[in-house]
């Protein structure tokens, strides 16, 4: 079971490459990506579901207030894999994993906030888009900062004849807001493992609801569980009971618990029937 970590790293790297296929502009698609990645990235090939939904709400074009295409796509992804997307594919989750590696030791205090804070973010961002007629959340999103706003400043745009960057002359207030939210996010990643996923991610909030019914999920065999709680020791989202693994909205289904389980009581299971 030790290979789970390697497979997970491979899928995270593969996803990062895949979401950037828009570097070839012909491959910029209207497909929604089931991970937290900004389609403002210069290389993005897929649409951010949160950003796109806000756009539909803000634009309100021809009474298409709500995109059933986006909802359907997201729903299919969620029913298929639940929060496996967060643990195995999300580029923003991968960044948080990197910070978990960097910080090393375990003696760092853990926050214990309510897991429903991410639902306040989810509802709040849609209300904000409705009131402001704009994608307000995108202007403060730390994923947008990391994958779009800052790369845009780093990549030289040579549209003007003098070869000057058009962008660097036009840095606005929200760029510095982006930098601020990114710094705050990174600080939170260092202090609390997977802070964004546990407390703030609006996409994780949606996928979390489907954890219980997704086709692929981590399952516990009670008859093999010895109650050693090794699975909980390694859990980055600090699930409190073995029975909750794979079911609660916080579980990102990363599989670290499956690796840690010496009796094989936990396993990743794909099943249609149960």
């Amino acid at each position: 079971m030790k290979s789970i970590g390697k497979i997970r790293l491979s899928t995270q790297i593969f996803t990062f490459i895949l979401v950037n296929i828009g570097i070839f502009s012909v491959l910029e698609t209207g497909i929604v990506c089931p991970v937290f990645y900004c389609h403002g990235c210069p290389a993005a090939g897929f649409a951010c579901p949160i950003g796109s939904m806000q756009n539909f709400i803000a634009v309100r074009e021809e009474l298409r207030l709500f995109s059933f295409y986006l909802l359907g796509s997201l729903g299919l992804f969620a029913v298929a894999l639940g929060r496996f997307w967060c643990g195995w594919a999300c580029p923003f989750g991968t960044v948080q994993d990197i910070f978990i590696k960097i910080r090393g030791g375990k003696n760092i205090p853990q926050l214990s906030l309510a897991p429903w804070t991410k639902y306040i973010v989810l509802i709040g961002l849609f209300i904000a888009a409705w009131i402001a007629l704009d994608s307000l959340f995108c202007k403060v999103c730390p994923a947008g900062s990391l994958f779009a706003a800052i790369p845009y400043q780093l990549i030289p745009f040579t549209d003007d004849p003098q070869g000057q960057s058009l962008i660097e002359q036009t840095i606005g207030t929200f760029f510095w807001v982006h930098v601020g939210t990114l710094v705050a996010a990174i600080a939170s990643f260092i202090l609390v493992a997977r802070f964004w996923c546990r407390y703030l991610c609006p996409l994780g909030a949606i996928f979390g609801v489907f954890n219980r019914v997704s086709f692929l999920k981590i399952k516990l065999d009670d008859s093999k569980c010895t109650g050693c709680r090794q699975c909980l020791e390694v859990c980055p989202t600090r699930i409190k009971e073995p029975e909750h693994i794979g079911n609660v909205t916080d579980c990102i289904q990363c599989g670290k618990c499956v690796e840690a389980c010496s009796t094989g009581a936990l396993r990743i299971s794909a099943s249609v029937r149960n």
């Binding site: 209207g30 497909i31 796109s52 756009n55 295409y69 359907g72 994608s135 149960n274």
Partner: protein, 47 residues
Amino acid sequence: MLKNNIFAIRLLLFIVFAVFVGLFAFDQYDHVREIVRNLCLSCLGID
């Protein structure tokens, strides 16, 4: 009983979402593609 319910809910959700995509993709795919192609510069902090 609970397992049967989960199976039924899973199947129902899958069908409902698949119908959403099937019915609305034709109308809305291009709109989403335009969102990806036409960057929101103000969202990137560019005035």
